[in-house]
Amino acid sequence: MTKLQSLRLTCAATALMAASAASADEISFLCFQNGVECDVLAGLITDFEAETGHTVAMEVVGYEIVRDQLENQLQTNAAPDVARVNNLGGLNQYYLDLTPYVDVDYMESAYGAVLPWYRAPGGEDQGIYGWPMELTVTGPYVNVTMFDDAGVEMPGEGATWDDWAAALAEVQETLGMDAALAMDRTAHRWAGPAFSYGAAFFDDSGVPILVDDGFRSFAETFVGWHSSGLMPADGWPAGTGTAYQNAAPLFLSGSVAMHMSGSWMISNYAENITDFEWRAVPAPCGPGGCGAMPGGAGIVAFSSTDVPEAAAAFIAFLAAEDNAARYAAETRSITAHSGLQAAGVDYGDTDPAVAAALSTFATSIARAAETTPQAFTFQGYTKNFVIYGIVPDYITQAITGAMSLDDALAAIDADVAAQIAE
């Protein structure tokens, strides 16, 4: 064999190896699971592997791992190729722009309303960064059995927070409960009611101006709900600093008649509530509209990936209408796909409470988009997680009397400004 021949052979072999590597890549995928999301994705992944020959190595973790460790992994180039995230705007600088790899027209037509949440602030970024796998929205759940036992009629469509507070107080009084209304300890749940009271949260150019008349008005009401005992002492006042607290245990144990939470609790409540009837009710209204915070996780690829084409193909596969429909049906979530939203997802033989809750929340999103568009701005704001923590920190101090409400509101303004300063 001459030197030239052997060189040619080597080249051919190398090219072959490279070609086979390009056609079958391994994609590492970090998935956090609250319910059955990753299990459902595992089914879709099997189809993807069969169709493309790529393999997906999925690692299923708790949400805290993604929340607390993913960004550090990204900063040190130790990140997976693809991940399920919910801090959509906050991780923008690490995303892989999928524009060259996916059908841009399809993505824009199907997910155009949600894609801006993934983009850098300023409006110039037109990239496509992921598959919005679901929509979530905040809203209250009520314990119907308690209302029935107390003989109190539930406020209907278009009821305000004041109507609900009055009805809940009546239930509380009649049944002799310690409290009636619980809310998870984060400004993410607080924002919806604050929008209803007229809080704008942002000025026209998208800069946070948290404390305005509407914000103050809801803050006063909220502190009042605690001093009157409508809201429990082991809710917000039991937390310190910016810590998140889940109020679901209070609702599950029957300590309160309403839980201000969101659509992601549907499958949990459907499974775990057996001794009373529960229902999701439309986001209560107020002078500012019927506020609810939209949100939702998405699957994104990172620019540090070695297999951008395979990663993009994986995301494009999941984003296809059939697969998005299957995901929504099997996880019982609200789809972010506008075509499916219009046509309606077939949830099969779902429990009627779940079906009703899904449609209630879907209506809430639509109404929030109409009446409180600032909710979408807040969700797309890259530093919204900072605000989620700061608001409960100071509002709690106003509730416990550690500082006056005026001081707390001033502190919220000052602290948010300091924490978001570049």
Partner: protein, 353 residues
């Protein structure tokens, strides 16, 4: 099992390498004596060779090396990284993305005016409050811990019935994970917990009390649970100290007819002083670092470590300057702790003389 061993070596060159190593040892060390001595000589030939070449001088450092490496990686490297974080800014943990900030983080933590916004600074208030709350915790917790672990050790050093059983009872909480301790006591102390329910049944209180959050009770229960959880550890150190005191001193005292109180004051305590000092310094440092149990119980105050933890963005709310500010705070606390320890050792050294 054989499969596992086979798999462990499959495709690896090191069994062969090890064989070569042993053969080399047999050639170089030329083992003599009993079978055990020969085996050791073959196995440890690099050490023996080093000894032959350089004498005994450098050997201790060789043995220190593994420990130094562990300390270097897990103690000193983070310390230097922390210093680095406090003088640079940005959200990244990667120094390449962290521009030098001079004393900006120190001002963000301590100044009256926030340098980025020009408004009043809130960070110094938060930090100051965490320091004050933690100081209150330390001031109560350390003396209580030292006193109770001393009493427990004194009692359990006597010839009481089922002594081993009582010792294990008091040591048991130390073996529990701090998170387990936290959840255990949360079950007792939460609003509808065992404590409230029992006291209400007895009619001692009318309304449920949130023992862990109520401003009047949160510090008491923090100190109580923390002492409960760690008492056994310090008790064990003090027990060892007590048993090191020669028995003939007590015999002589008994013959002289000294009262037990006098024996305690004139023999036990002075001879126990070095151990007590260790216990005091250790518990002081540990109390300043108290975090896990308090975090798991969600007490109603923010300790220094919790403040640093939260500010650094470790709860998922990363902020632009949080990491630098948190690093600065932790350096300040480390400095204060070092000064405290030195003062205490100096004072007790003087009193011992």
């Amino acid at each position: 099992m054989w499969n596992a061993i086979h798999n462990a070596f499959a495709g690896s060159a090191w069994p062969l390498g090890f064989l070569v190593y042993l053969v080399l040892g047999a050639v170089i060390a030329r083992p003599r004596g009993t079978l055990g001595a020969r085996a050791m000589a073959i196995l440890g030939w690099p050490i023996e060779l080093a000894q032959k070449l350089r004498g005994h001088g450098p050997l201790p450092y060789l043995f220190l090396l593994p420990n130094l490496l562990v300390f270097g990686i897990f103690t000193f490297a983070p310390l230097f990284i922390n210093v680095g974080f406090s003088f640079t800014e940005g959200q990244s943990i990667n120094f390449a993305d962290r521009p030098f900030a001079g004393t900006d983080n120190w001002q963000r933590l301590l100044a009256e005016t926030q340098i980025d916004t020009g408004a009043a600074n809130l960070e110094d208030d938060k930090f100051y409050r965490a320091v004050m709350d933690t100081s209150v915790f330390v001031i109560f917790q350390v003396p209580i811990m030292v006193l109770f672990s001393l009493i427990t050790a004194l009692v359990l050093n006597r010839d009481i019935v089922a002594r081993g059983f009582w010792r294990s009872i008091f040591f048991y909480p130390v073996m529990l994970s701090p998170v387990v301790v936290g959840f255990l006591w949360t079950l007792i102390l939460k609003r509808q917990g065992l404590m409230t329910v029992t006291l209400m049944e007895w009619g001692w209180i009318d309304a449920p009390i949130q023992w862990l959050v109520d401003p009047a009770w949160t510090m008491f229960w923090s100190v109580f649970v923390y002492t409960w959880a760690h008492l056994g550890f310090y008790m064990l150190i003090l027990l060892a100290g007590l048993q090191a005191i020669p028995g003939d001193l007590y015999e002589a005292a008994e013959m002289d007819g000294a009262s037990p109180w006098r024996v305690l004051r004139k023999i036990t305590l002075p001879l126990l002083m070095p151990t007590l000092l260790v216990v005091t310094v250790l518990s002081l440092i540990k109390a300043f670092q108290a975090f896990e149990e308090l975090y798991a119980m969600q007490v109603g105050w923010i300790s220094i470590v919790a403040y640093i933890f939260e500010t650094a963005g470790l709860r998922g709310q990363t902020t632009t300057h949080g990491l630098g500010v948190a690093a600065t705070a932790s350096l300040l606390i480390a400095g204060a702790l070092a000064v405290l320890s030195v003062i205490q050792i100096f004072l007790s050294g003087r009193s011992a003389r």
